[in-house]
Symmetry: C2
Subunit: 381 residues, 2 copies
């Protein structure tokens, strides 16, 4: 299916990242759309990019992770209302992976939250308009907050050499940076926030640009610092994130799902001291148990190519769920993925069949996640 990018670019509806010109210059092969913004998908072959990520270091434009910024005298109280995590445990300079929940416990988004000050938060968003949700909630919440989308655009620097590149850029303080913590920095006058986070389970950083006019400068500065470590720009690595058991909001789960269905119950603090949106619903769901669950699966047979249709999953001749993500792992030499299945078929070892379009039915098995255990030695290419 050919695609004429000039058609997509015709109008001004879709926003461009501050790194758009750089991604063009470095040969982005295509773009998707995420938070109303063009999002580079790949620069080369996807498996090549994957091997580069696990062996070297990659630079990835994630400006589409738009921020919602919450400030004002009641910013802490308000932000704490939006999520089941206890934000009293999040220090200034620290981040948390959180879910934003609606009144039914449905997951609106799963951002990385950064606490920049006692009453100053950013939510680095997956693909839904949390700005509108937060503004709507604030309307009658009786709390003094300001909510806006600031001029902030992250990049991901990921891979085993990411630390060396980050040290070359920001100095020795990088060594002391703990997982999900951050520092503020400046490079040639470019204002930044540097976090130890990412979407790869490799060692990695996100570099949040705070001045959209400096995108090109920042990109070239990082590429120059990474040259000695063979840095290259890539898109997202679906292979690596699925190996790591990382979920993709919109594909693997959405507003129709709750944390107990998708294995994110660690993002609910049962001991949280204050009310939050969805608390009562989540307590009910936890007590009652869920009817379906997202599980890791292996799909037997030769390499499959997943597409946008969620393949049906059968057990004993009956449809019991759908595949939400699937991919060939070149490192594990097998097809891995996730399926949302009814709870009766969610146990480890459960035998399933997946209807792969054009390839017939394939045997599948429920397996533990993550597929690649970071504590174990895994052969690299």
């Amino acid at each position: 299916m050919p695609f004429d990018m000039n058609l997509v670019q015709r109008g001004a509806r879709l926003r461009r990242s501050p790194f758009f010109d750089a991604t063009q210059r470095y040969g982005a092969r295509g773009y998707t759309v995420y938070n109303h913004m063009l999002f580079p998908i790949a620069f080369g072959d996807l498996e090549e990019e994957y091997w580069h990520l696990v062996n070297h270091v990659t630079l990835w434009d994630v400006a589409v992770e738009r921020q919602v910024e919450i400030t004002g005298p009641d910013a802490f109280a308000f932000t704490n209302l939006l999520t089941p995590r206890e934000l009293a445990h999040c220090a200034v300079g620290q981040g948390k992976y959180v879910v934003i929940t609606d009144e039914s416990g449905g997951i609106i988004n799963d951002p990385v939250l950064l606490r920049l000050g006692h009453n100053h938060f950013w939510l680095a968003l997956a693909d839904s308009d949390v700005l509108l949700w937060a503004k709507g909630v604030a309307l009658n919440a009786g709390l003094r907050v300001e909510i806006r989308e600031p001029d902030v655009s992250p990049l991901q620097l990921q891979g085993p050499k990411a630390k060396d590149v980050a040290i070359a850029l920001f100095g020795e303080r990088v060594r002391a940076l703990r997982y999900y913590h951050f520092f503020e920095a400046s490079l040639d006058g470019i204002p930044l926030v540097v976090t130890r986070t990412g979407w790869t389970a490799e060692i990695g950083y996100e570099i949040y640009l705070r001045d959209g006019s400096r995108g090109d400068d920042l990109w070239e500065r990082i590429m120059a610092a990474g040259r000695a470590h063979q840095i290259r720009p890539t898109g997202p690595s679906d292979i690596r994130r699925i190996e790591a058991g990382i979920l993709n909001w919109g594909a693997d789960f959405n507003l129709e799902n709750n944390v107990y269905e998708v294995g994110l119950e660690r993002l609910v603090d049962d001991a949280k001291r204050t009310p939050y949106i969805g608390r009562e619903a989540l307590a009910r769901i936890k007590a009652a148990g869920v009817a379906r669950k997202l599980v890791g699966i292996e799909i037997a047979g030769p390499r499959i190519e997943f597409n946008a249709v969620k393949w049906p999953v059968d057990a004993a001749g009956e449809t019991v769920g759908r595949v939400t993500s699937a991919i060939w792992s070149p490192r594990l030499d097998r097809n891995i993925g996730y399926a949302m299945v009814s709870i009766a078929h969610a146990a480890l070892g459960a035998a399933l069949r997946v209807d792969v379009p054009g390839a017939g039915a394939r045997a599948a098995t429920v397996v533990p996640m993550p597929f690649v255990d970071p504590s174990k030695e895994i052969p690299k290419q």
Copy 2:
């Protein structure tokens, strides 16, 4: 810039329209993304599709106009809170073009609202998550409503022969259907709502499919009824909508703009009897006057190709605004578009210069909208 659609389609994050298979079968040349869904852009040459629209009849998949459905005992009161229009003037069976406003009067979305019952509304959305906004507002509004995205997917049937095709499908009652009114219908058991609305300023209808499993059936039924009138599938016609002065949310205006800046003040009912979100802000803005305004412009010289960058607009050597949309009108034989300019340069006849990338500075003039007056005879191809 080549684009590999297989990359975009790899994951299941982007939703497919119920008409997706049909658009593939009929040769869609490409897709963009709108409300998290793939949106066919064109099937043939864009000018060819334009001429077909103004001379014959076209079928356009607008399933991306996702609905927010509002029901419950307080649905009228709640929906009336979301918009500056007085919904007491909207009868059951009637629709309204409305803006959804935030507390600052900013435009969150500009849907077509349909009133299906006293307490039953649909909002057919432009590209923002009004579902999240409405749910957020409802949280503390003290009104009994249910808010959800129903299984509803519209098609647009547009062009001078659209009425003949609609009569072939739905019978003589089509003749009595007034602009922005609708009826419920069934075709071969497919549940539908048929409105006299569209995004073209041609005679046209929207056919809202209420059962996503019947997309292919409905598409083929309409294509069969239209065969005698040379119906063909197309994407959106930016040429025709700009000729008509129709705005595109996200491109021509967004949350940063208010109705007074973009010429949509007719969507505010000053005599509205009840409070609504943004009322005080809009009253202040109206009293103070706006600092910038969206105007119609003609850009001199040969055909231009607009891209995603909003071209700078200068007057007397100073940047005074940005082009938001621009296109070559083959019927008017000139370049037309919109620019958001500071109020000092917004008067009819004001002389501007547009910086066209790769084509240098071009003279431009502020002109009345719409560019094509539907009451005047215009030569057709």
